[in-house]
């Protein structure tokens, strides 16, 4: 008997009891649906974080004051440490570094800003000319803080889009005077919009020269120093070199922490891997339940078709033909459930993506293979027992069955 005929028979049989077939598939529908949704969410999250990191700039090492043994998460930026990161540390790295192309110093704080009669409390970042390049954040118009501005402590400011909107009401701010933490600053540039990142509005920031910020905040220490390595393959060498140089600058003490993007990524990857295990667990349980449902119904079907089995054997079906017939029937039911689950999943994802444009749930091609494979697998595993029972029937008893 040809495969196509088996499928035809299986579909005919499934259609004979539409409601029963439908209810039987529900377990698989729910199983495949949850797998599709969870896997796509995971893929979406991966993409989201990957975007996030590439938005930060690439091949970056972040030097933070104080020694932290844990890797991955950034320590609190305002934390007090014994030995601060100083401007001279930064200059030392810049002068001596061979495996990295550039160095950026940064100090973060909060403060009040004013323009005309409007004011706003927001984040103030003091930094130097390399910031824009290192973090892949170009200005939209005007210019960014220059080396000269930092050196001569010029009171200039570069603003983000939210600041432009809230404080300047979108009028051209270039050349205008604004108040930042009590001082008068000339606006020289507007940053390109960056949107939200991990819940922080990256456009609600004012950038001022590093040296000026240190004066305003009355701080000698930098919040962090960021190093951009020459290449991704050189990251480990760069980590080593930065460690060496920083130790030299700090008279041999390792009282600083270096975080690479790789560390951060690996943290998120660990979370993703855990999530995938959870998905696997949920999927296994629901598919197990769905599979048992299929086995149950297939046993009923075999019983109901006892006479038919006898007839088929009498007219020349081999036992293997009977086995395959019922196996294909269980695969068909399971596959039907898989297809319904997949379609419902796709529908949910499309609706979700149109409702939440910031976080795109991503469909991977292998989710199709996964749902397909899962359903066939369940159909085979839970169909074998009923199918064997059918194939091993005594044809004479089967023909007499009422």
């Amino acid at each position: 008997m040809e495969l196509y005929e088996f499928f035809k028979t299986a579909i005919q049989s499934a259609l004979l009891n539409k409601w029963r077939t439908f209810l039987t598939t529900l377990g698989i529908v729910i199983g495949v649906y949850s797998v599709v949704i969870l896997v796509s969410l995971g893929e979406g999250a991966k993409l989201y974080f990957a975007d996030l990191f590439s938005g930060m700039g690439s091949n970056l090492l972040i030097v933070l004051p104080g020694k932290k043994d844990t890797k991955g998460g950034a320590p609190h930026p305002m934390i007090n440490t014994v030995r601060k990161l100083s401007l001279s540390d930064m200059e030392f790295l810049k002068k001596r570094g061979r495996t990295f192309e550039t160095v950026n110093g940064l100090i973060m704080g909060g403060g009040n800003t004013k323009y005309s009669n409007r004011q706003r409390d927001l984040m103030i970042i003091g930094t130097n000319e390399t910031f824009s390049y290192i973090h892949n954040m170009p200005v939209e118009s005007g210019s960014f803080i220059s080396a000269e501005d930092v050196l001569s402590k010029k009171k200039v400011a570069v603003i983000g889009h939210t600041v432009l909107k809230e404080l300047f009401h979108n009028e051209n701010p270039l050349g205008k005077q604004m108040t930042v933490a009590g001082g008068r600053f000339t606006v020289i540039g507007i940053m390109q919009s960056k949107g939200q990142s991990l819940g922080i509005d990256m456009d609600d920031i004012v950038y001022i020269p590093l040296t000026v910020a240190m004066d305003i905040f009355n701080q000698e220490g930098l919040t962090r120093i960021t190093v951009k390595a020459n290449s991704a393959s050189n990251i480990d060498a760069s980590i080593e070199e930065v460690t060496d140089l920083m130790k030299k600058a700090h008279s041999g003490n390792e009282d600083f922490t270096i975080i690479s993007q790789k560390d951060m990524l690996s943290t998120f990857e660990k979370i993703a891997a855990t999530m995938q295990l959870v998905v696997l667990g949920i999927a296994s349980i629901s598919l197990l339940v769905g599979g048992i449902g299929i086995m149950n119904i297939m046993l009923v079907t075999v019983k109901e078709k006892t006479r038919e089995i006898g007839i088929r054997i009498a007219v020349g079906a081999r036992r293997i033909d009977i086995l395959i017939q019922f196996l294909i029937e269980s695969i068909t039911i399971s596959l039907l459930g898989g297809i319904i689950g997949l379609l419902l999943g796709l529908l949910t994802i499309v609706i979700f993506n149109s409702l939440v444009p910031d976080f795109q749930v991503r469909l991977t091609p292998w989710i199709f293979m996964l749902s397909f494979g899962f359903s066939v697998f369940v159909g085979v595993v839970f169909g074998v027992f009923p199918a064997r029972r059918a194939a091993n029937m005594n044809p004479i008893d089967a023909l007499r069955y009422e």
Binding site: M1, I311, I313, A314, V315, G316, R318, D321, P395, I396
Partner: protein
């Protein structure tokens, strides 16, 4: 060479601790083109004999030669082949598949020998013509009379041009008139297609239609005689 030859065939069922001898040392030869009746009361072993002849069961002892080949030791696939190509069954209760139409029912054996659907339908329609049942192809068995259903079953039995038709009480569920029509259909097929017919029955009138009558009792052949063909 005989089409069928049973040599010292016994069939013993083990029911719990008891052994039931259904057939005891049967010797039987059936030539190609014969029309033969097997008669006996219920429980005499005639159904068991029929199942063995039809390759649905294997004998416990003895040999079964079909066209000179001993099928006693055939495996499942070869027995299935025998049932599919060389033997056609007709049952008392028709044994049609209710969910399929007449044409599909008749074509069922052809599914198991890899014939394409177009050719299957052609062969099934031809078999139905031979069984004198036309214009019913798209109906389901439930929509047919008993006589029509039995014609469908006969069409199914002959669709693959078997050497032999085994009919187990084919008129048992039919009234006399229709039963007679069915028997004459068998006779016609026997004559025109030279297909061997073995008719199992307990109805002496039906048995009398055969040229040879084998009487069986308690698992043994007690009579095997030529018959002057009578009328029903």
């Amino acid at each position: 060479m005989a089409l069928i030859e049973l040599k010292n065939v016994s069939k013993i069922y083990h029911l719990g601790s008891e052994d039931v001898i259904a057939l005891n040392n049967i010797n039987l030869k059936i030539e190609k083109g014969e029309f033969i009746s097997i008669i006996g009361p219920s429980g005499s072993g005639k159904s068991t004999l029929m199942h063995i002849l039809g390759c649905l069961e294997s004998p416990t002892k003895g040999d079964y030669f079909f066209d000179g080949v001993n099928v006693k030791d055939f495996g499942d696939s070869r027995l299935a082949y025998m049932r599919n190509r060389r033997i056609g069954f007709v049952f008392q209760n028709y044994n049609l598949l209710p969910q399929f139409n007449v044409l599909s029912n008749v074509a069922l054996p052809l599914l198991y020998c890899g014939i394409g659907s177009k050719e299957r339908n052609r062969m099934a329609a031809e078999a139905l013509r031979s069984a004198n049942l036309t214009h019913r192809n798209r109906h389901r068995p439930g929509e047919l009379s008993g006589g029509e259903r039995q014609r469908v079953a006969i069409a199914r039995a002959i669709v693959n041009n078997p050497d032999i038709i085994l009919a187990d009480e084919p008129t048992g569920n039919l009234d006399q008139k229709v039963g007679k029509e069915i028997i004459s259909l068998f006779k016609g097929l026997n004559k025109e297609k030279n297909v061997t017919v073995v008719l199992v029955t307990h109805d002496l009138n039906v048995a009398a239609m055969a040229r040879r009558i084998v009487r069986i009792l308690d698992g043994e052949i007690i009579e095997d005689k030529e018959n002057n063909i009578g009328t029903l």
